[in-house]
C-alpha cells in the first residue's frame, strides 16, 4: 500500500465497492464492528477524537467543540454472554428480535458496577452512560437487529 494521492481516491473506493463520495444528508447510523467486537454509533459526520470512559464505553467527541459525535460500546460478546446468563434480564433486553439499546447500555452499567471492587456506583461513569442513553433516544436509534449483530450465544 502506498501513500494516497487525490487521483487515487476512486481506486481506493472501488476496493470497497463504493463508486463515489458525493455528498448526501448525513443520518446517524449504528455498525457492529466484528473485528473489534464493538458497536459503533455515529451521530455526526464531523471530525472527532475518542475519550475512553471505561472498558465498555468510549465517547467520540467533536474535534472542535467536544460535543458528542458518537460512541463505541466494546466487548459486546462478553457483556451479552453475561446478560444472557440471566434469562429474565435477557427477556427484558430483547423484544421481537431487536436489542433495546438503552436497556442494553443500562445493563452494561449495572454489570460494570457489580464488577467494581468497592461495589459503589461511580457518579461520573453514570453521567457518561446517561449521556449515551439520551442520545440514543434523541436520535431514535433505539434498536439494533439481532441478525445484524450476529452474536454468539444469542438466539
Amino acid at each position: 500500500m502506498t501513500i494516497l494521492q487525490n487521483s487515487e481516491l476512486t481506486e481506493f473506493l472501488q476496493i470497497f465497492d463504493i463508486t463515489n463520495l458525493s455528498p448526501k444528508p448525513f443520518s446517524p447510523f449504528v455498525f457492529y464492528n466484528k473485528d473489534g467486537d464493538s458497536l459503533e454509533f455515529y451521530i455526526s459526520s464531523n471530525d472527532f477524537y475518542s475519550e475512553r470512559i471505561d472498558d465498555y464505553l468510549t465517547l467520540l467527541l467533536d474535534m472542535d467543540s467536544d460535543v458528542m459525535a458518537g460512541f463505541i460500546i466494546k466487548n459486546i460478546k462478553q457483556i451479552c454472554e453475561k446478560v444472557s446468563a440471566s434469562q429474565s434480564a435477557w427477556e427484558f433486553v430483547v423484544n421481537d428480535g431487536n436489542v433495546k439499546l438503552h436497556t442494553l447500555i443500562t445493563a452494561f452499567l449495572v454489570l460494570n458496577e457489580k464488577t467494581r471492587e468497592d461495589n459503589k456506583i461511580d457518579k461520573i461513569l453514570v453521567r457518561e452512560y446517561k449521556k449515551v442513553v439520551n442520545i440514543i433516544e434523541e436520535k431514535k436509534i433505539d434498536k439494533v437487529s439481532l441478525h445484524d449483530l450476529d452474536l454468539v450465544g444469542i438466539s
Partner: protein, 150 residues
C-alpha cells in the same frame, strides 16, 4: 474484484514489535472501512486511513500489547495479541480532505486484533507529561495496556 486481489489491497506493512523491522503484515478491516465510507462519505476518512494510519503503523512512537480483557485474550491463537500503535503525526485530515495541523494535545492510535486486522483508528488525548518527550503516549496508558512492546 476477487477476494484474493481485495485482500492484497487491504494489506499493510507495519513495524513488527518483536524484530523492530517493518515486516509485519496487517490487514485493514474491509467491513469497517466500507461502512464508514458508505455512511459518513467524507474524503478525510479516506486520507486518514491511507496516510495517517499507514504512517502510524510504520513510524510508531510506541506499540502496546494487551489492550482488551484477559477473557478475550484467552481466545487468542496468535502470539502477537491485541496491539495498539501510537504516533504523533504533524497533520490530520479534516472531513473535506484538506490537510491541517494536528491537534497539539492529541496523538493518533491504531488498533489491531489477534487476527492481524486493523479494526479501529482514532485521535485521543495524550498524556501531558509525555508530550514534551520523543515518545508521546495516550492518556492513562499505564492502566489501559498490559505492556509496552516497542
Amino acid at each position: 474484484m476477487s477476494e484474493l486481489s481485495r485482500r492484497k489491497e487491504l494489506e499493510c506493512l507495519a513495524i513488527n514489535p518483536e524484530t523492530g523491522k517493518c515486516d509485519l503484515v496487517l490487514y485493514l478491516s474491509y467491513e469497517k472501512i466500507q461502512t464508514i465510507l458508505k455512511y459518513r462519505r467524507t474524503p478525510g476518512d479516506v486520507f486518514t486511513i491511507k496516510n495517517t494510519v499507514l504512517e502510524t503503523l510504520q513510524h510508531p512512537s510506541n506499540i502496546y500489547k494487551g489492550i482488551r480483557f484477559e477473557e478475550d485474550e484467552k481466545h487468542s491463537c496468535n502470539a502477537q495479541g491485541w496491539l495498539c500503535y501510537c504516533s504523533r503525526p504533524a497533520f490530520r485530515y479534516s472531513s473535506n480532505g484538506s490537510k491541517i495541523p494536528a491537534p497539539v494535545d492529541k496523538i493518533f492510535l491504531v488498533f489491531v486484533n489477534v487476527d492481524c486486522i486493523i479494526y479501529h483508528w482514532t485521535w485521543e488525548k495524550a498524556d501531558i507529561d509525555s508530550l514534551a518527550t520523543r515518545q508521546p503516549r495516550p492518556i492513562n496508558y499505564e492502566t489501559r495496556f498490559n505492556k509496552s512492546v516497542f
